[in-house]
Amino acid sequence: MASSNWEKWRLPADPSPADLARAAAGERQAFRMIVERYQHMVYSVAYNVLGNHADAEDAAQDAFLRCYRSLPQYRSEASFSTWLFRLALTAAIDAQRRERRRPEPVDVPEVAGEAAALAPGIDAATIARALADLPEDYRTPTVLRDVYGLPYHEIAELTGRPLGTVKVMVHRGRAALRLRLRAEREA
């Protein structure tokens, strides 16, 4: 069943209402605390959608600027992490819609802290490269669906593509990744 993985992004504890109010009032130190606490989450989302460091950094910065501007509109019905996660996704997808300014990279991101083994014979660098090498049309829907667990209809809404197209892109992305990871394991 479609289930969202967004809950796991609640891991960094939400800032206290007082800290959020200070940041929303323009207190820079309070906002810096938010940036430092959530930079890995926001950057990871941007990197996974865009597949390269340069675009990911721009999109992550854009996400934090959007967060800063719209802090007064944040309502605590959703957790702050979930709200910021969506801002990061939107910023990354908007960046992808714009013409790409950088060549496709082959660089692999640095994992913050210790990464658990992802699967037998598959490390973080392998999966990062396999995702980054996917055609862009396949990567974004596949990342949104299988990395972040978004339902298909939300992916269609976010990417502005028909539902059927999104499903086909995810199926093709999975097929390409399955063959790639099989080849990596056999190598």
Binding site: A24, V35, Q39, H40, A112, L118, R178, L181
Partner: protein, 151 residues
């Protein structure tokens, strides 16, 4: 259900989109077909790997937080009206994204927004010239009429 039928349904099964009967047929086939069973196991494992990848925090480049804060320092206070230039820039970006790009000879592309801008500018110039010409002609007619009246 044969192998091609099962493979066509594999993603829908994984996404929980199959009905009761299709699910039963799908599972029955997997129980005796080693090829489809292997493909299914790989696909299921892939989903687990991707979900686990979502838990891996990636480190932004060094100094990222400082760069964000430098950019924040140029921002107006949260919630205050945005500068007109930023609003115009957002509208232009929205137009860029909504209208897309047109392919030019030589494989280059250009935003449709730019083409529209030039078309509007051209129309404005043509209309401007037309009006000026009309005004000039009117002035000529008036001065001729005045000359004729003096004669």
């Amino acid at each position: 259900m044969d192998c091609s039928g099962v493979r066509a349904l594999m993603n829908r099964y994984i996404d929980g989109e199959l009905g009761y009967l299709e699910t039963a047929e799908f599972q029955r086939h997997l129980a005796f077909c080693p090829d489809c069973s292997l493909e299914f196991r790989e696909l299921s494992a892939l989903r687990g790997t991707l979900a686990a990848w979502g838990d891996v925090p990636l480190a932004p480049p060094a100094g990222f937080a400082n760069r964000v804060m430098t950019a924040v320092a140029t921002e107006p206070l949260p919630g205050s009206p945005r500068p007109l230039a930023d609003v115009v820039s957002d509208v232009l970006e929205w137009l860029d994204q909504s209208l897309g790009r047109v392919r030019l000879p030589g494989g280059r592309t250009m935003p449709v927004k730019n083409l529209l801008g030039w078309a509007i500018a051209l129309v404005a110039v043509v209309i401007g010239f037309g009006r000026r010409r009309g005004q000039d002609q009117a002035k000529t007619r008036v001065s001729r009429a005045a000359g004729a009246a003096r004669r």
